[in-house]
Homo-oligomer: 207 residues x 2
Amino acid sequence: MVRRTKEDALTTRGELLDAAERLFSEKGVSNTSMNQVAEAAGVTRGAIYHHFQNKLDLIDALMERVRLPVDEMRDELAQTYQGDPISLLRARCLHIIGQVQDDPHTQALVNILLHKCEYVDDALPIHLRHLGGRNACITECILLADKAKTQGLVDEKYDSKAAVIGLFSLVDGLLYNWLLDQDYFDLSQTATQAIDTYLAGLKPRGA
Amino acid sequence: MVRRTKEDALTTRGELLDAAERLFSEKGVSNTSMNQVAEAAGVTRGAIYHHFQNKLDLIDALMERVRLPVDEMRDELAQTYQGDPISLLRARCLHIIGQVQDDPHTQALVNILLHKCEYVDDALPIHLRHLGGRNACITECILLADKAKTQGLVDEKYDSKAAVIGLFSLVDGLLYNWLLDQDYFDLSQTATQAIDTYLAGLKPRGA
DNA sequence: AAACATACATACATGCATGTTTGTTTAATT
DNA sequence: AATTAAACAAACATGCATGTATGTATGTTT
């Protein structure tokens, strides 16, 4: 069957992305061929090369699909600027944790990023996206940390950038290890305690 | 030239491992062919298949080579049981950080583990080794955390396992992000502050 | 209704990576 | 000294992944 309607084509495209996301997350990116993706989506490779230029382009589309919700979340949290900066940072971190835990698309994508793809060339869209998103988020959060410092919520002795990088590394590490073996520990419980521990350590001693 | 002496063969084997370590760390495991490894070592694929069964066996040997020093370190630190458990944990974490930063072999291997290989199949020796080593180390450190709790160095409200997993995730995350872009932040400074922050958060409030 | 463009399927060409086998030279063995 | 066996090199066979080119049936446009 060929030349279906325009929305049918979009459906095919979506099924290709679903299949790719699942296979990549299960077997790794370079260990999954375009043919396998096509078969899993019930089409042939012709369909893939019609919708995407090549594997990299496919991955790019994959990331584009879930980046949008993440951006929404960021904007949303940025607006709810109520409460102290530390609580905001906490909420943001826990939100990320929760989303990876509960949203299958996010989980698959993060799994791909952390465990199922090789960072081979600087020109790779994956690499750039990952780094870019991280740096933008960190830069934004450093402002929050500075604000918290002026409010006396964070000890003066700490460097804001290092503090934020530490917090993000903690989140990354938790996700990294949890995705490695989901049965080894409970993510939300462990993450909540770990993040609270870290944030408690940021407070001035006398507070 | 062929059939060189027995130690010449060991040299060849070592050069193969060196080449593999470098190429894998630079270009990724699945993106590096056996032929490229052989060429980089100045031999042909025949030499590789003489010393190793296949790519997985090569990687296995790669990990075996640097696992030994790491184990030495662990035994060494386990003997110096002086000082409080928290200081010991701190020293251990900073030691790992320092070793990744300063020892090229360790750095390359950790880079491969974190960024240059796909965790595709549970049967892969890489996967098992990584998980096994981690779990063993965590189990060991949980005892330390418990000990610290009985000494009143850690707040009663914290779960020991979660506390240790948090600490290790922090270290993993720091290495993960630093290896992604070594110029973005100073590893030892950031790690020292982050680890100290986390450990400070573990203390009881009134201390 | 005719012309065109889209959404694929199919077929083809190419190249590379792997694993194996065979061959050759020289150290080690007896 | 003769035999064996190690340490590779070189050649072979195979399969798979990619990219592209072509074919075709059907929606879409005018």
